[in-house]
């Protein structure tokens, strides 16, 4: 097997062996959706949400959770710990550049986000008949750009944080903001309008996901903002990332 394949294989096992990343990253978002869906009132159509059920309206927010938990808490914490423990330094003593380990980490964490999102969509569909995303292309684009922007910010955290502790402190603040603007703490119709509008542009872009899910093409400008964030944060992270 190639060295990258081997790295992805081992990093996947390490991800699954860590009970935190496994339960919170992979299972929690679907569990939250199922938990809320168990409340009968939240399965009634409501005028607050344009005649939708709360559960339909809230589903994209659990996707924000899936992407945020893994991209903003797991990824930077693991990479900062790898730097702090000298794992990246040890890689430098081998013929393989440590950038391959970073790439493997990205592959594993993006894979985990996708798996978590898939779990949300399938659980919503099977248990509460939450419809599948109605604008599949728009949804795919919104999701890919959203995940890219969040992961680029996660990489930036890993690049600037000198220690694993600093990384987890910084990423917790960012994670809280992403969850807040993504309508995870308070459903967005309860947020002041200005805050909700800001939320349209905060990665991963919950409104784009909601629009595409319910069948409207997502607006262009928020998507452009996500792409710009991904490229900008990714480029800065790549420039300033230190191996030791």
């Amino acid at each position: 097997m190639s060295s990258l394949g081997k790295l992805v294989q081992i990093e996947t096992r390490l991800f699954l062996r860590d009970p935190m990343s496994f339960t919170i990253g992979l299972l929690l978002p679907a569990a939250v959706l199922l938990g809320l869906g168990a409340v009968p009132m939240l399965r009634e159509p409501s005028p607050d949400m344009g005649g939708q059920r709360f559960i339909d309206y809230f589903a994209p927010s659990t996707l924000v959770m899936a992407v945020g938990v893994i991209g903003l808490t797991n990824l930077p914490a693991v990479l900062a710990a790898y730097r702090e423990r000298g794992v990246l330094r040890r890689m430098r003593t081998t013929p393989i550049h440590p950038a391959k380990l970073l790439l493997a980490q990205l592959i594993v964490n993006i894979g985990a986000s996708l798996a978590s999102a898939l779990l949300v969509i399938v659980a919503g569909k099977l248990v509460f008949d939450v419809p599948m995303p109605q604008h599949p292309w728009g949804f795919a684009i919104a999701f890919v750009l959203g995940i890219s922007s969040v992961f680029a910010i996660g990489m930036l955290v890993a690049a600037v944080a000198p220690t694993a502790r600093a990384a987890s402190g910084l990423s917790t603040v960012l994670f809280m903001s992403v969850m807040f603007f993504g309508g995870v703490y308070l459903p967005r119709f309860m947020l002041p309008d200005a805050v909700a509008r800001i939320g349209d542009y905060v990665p991963p872009g919950v409104q784009s996901l909601l629009d595409a899910w319910t069948g409207t093409a997502p607006a262009v400008i928020p998507l452009v903002v996500m792409a710009a964030t991904a490229i900008g944060a990714g480029a800065v992270a790549a420039r300033i990332f230190k191996w030791e």
Partner: protein, 302 residues
Amino acid sequence: MAIIEVQDLVKDYGSFRAVDGISFEVGEGEIFGILGPNGAGKTTTVECVEGLRSRDGGSVKVMGLDPERDGAELKQVLGIQLQESRLPDRIRVGEALDLYGSFYRQRADTDRLIEKLGLGGKRKTPYGKLSGGQQQRLSIALALVGNPRVAVLDELTTGLDPQARRDTWDLIEQVRNSGVTIILVTHFMDEAERLCDRIAVVDSGKIVALDTPAGLTARVSEEQRVRFRPSAEFPDSLLLDLPEVARLERSGPHVVVTGGEHLLQAVASVLARNQIVAADLRVEQVSLDDAFVALTGKSPEN
């Protein structure tokens, strides 16, 4: 034939010159020690040899390769054991060897390597559950998994208990016997004395001496000391008249005689002729520790 050639190596950290014109050659199959107090520039020197750090002057060739220019190629044949480098806690011993083995074109027989390092029963044990000594041995195994021609081992036995240290030394001798050239960075005298064919003593970025362990001690002093408790009183002149004896000191019931070559034979025969029995007889030779202090003006253990 020299497998490693270092010529006038210079490395600056800002205005601080950490390595100041170091030159040495290491022959194939040799165990070459780099000894020196903390902050002497030992680790920086080997990092320039390994290609982990760029140099500011001089030239370095390892098997004809320049570590800076041909880094990836060199690392195929170079095994590096780092000071203070850990692995993820949840990776298992077997997985780590399998993973790091996949980085090399030519990999060692990992089963044999695991057995040789005494980790045979630990294949499925996660790194975080290994003892310090086992973690260290795994780290050595990872340095050897690519079947290197040259191994650089930095502070190999720091933090190991005495038994684990001796086991590690045996292992290093086995590795050398299989034809691997070894650079050993250490601040332990006993380790250097036991393992190294030649030692470079480094201080303040310069090599202050480069010799065999025996050569280093001889260089400092040819002096010997004989210490004993005589069974009867005797005048100092009895021994001081001997050409081999330079000094005589008394401390309590003990006599300490200092002198040059054949000191012991000369002292013993005079005492015998005068029917004096030398109890608690000890011959003290200058140790590598003494040589180190004389060469660097510093104690080796800090």
